[in-house]
Symmetry: C2
Subunit: 77 residues, 2 copies
Amino acid sequence: MNKTGIPTYRKRLGEAVRKRRLSLKLSQEKLSERIDCHRNYVGSVERGEQNVTIDVLMRFAKALGCTVGELAREGRF
Amino acid sequence: MNKTGIPTYRKRLGEAVRKRRLSLKLSQEKLSERIDCHRNYVGSVERGEQNVTIDVLMRFAKALGCTVGELAREGRF
């Protein structure tokens, strides 16, 4: 936990998602289309605001061409 | 997805949790105490029935002395 009330691991997951998205040159909108969710939701996940489920994590990982394990490793959690 | 309607990755997450729990010689009840949840919930997660959140995954990982990344790697997802 930090000053924002958001657990550190969620922040780092969000950073890992953002980093992969940018390396694929995808906008939040494009990623949201791949995942079939609202664009705002992608932003919210990237800020660590969402307590995402394993099913949603899988959709993010697939859309980003990686595994949940890789996202977790990159987010160091 | 498989015949049970449970996604394969959830099944494998559950197996990874179960394997780690048994290697620590913990009962489902003991693990549930560490995680502060109902014993039945642990069994349900081990069967892949739960769409667990990242916060819950973190609690499982901590209680099992590993990271979420390790659980995901062991579950191959």
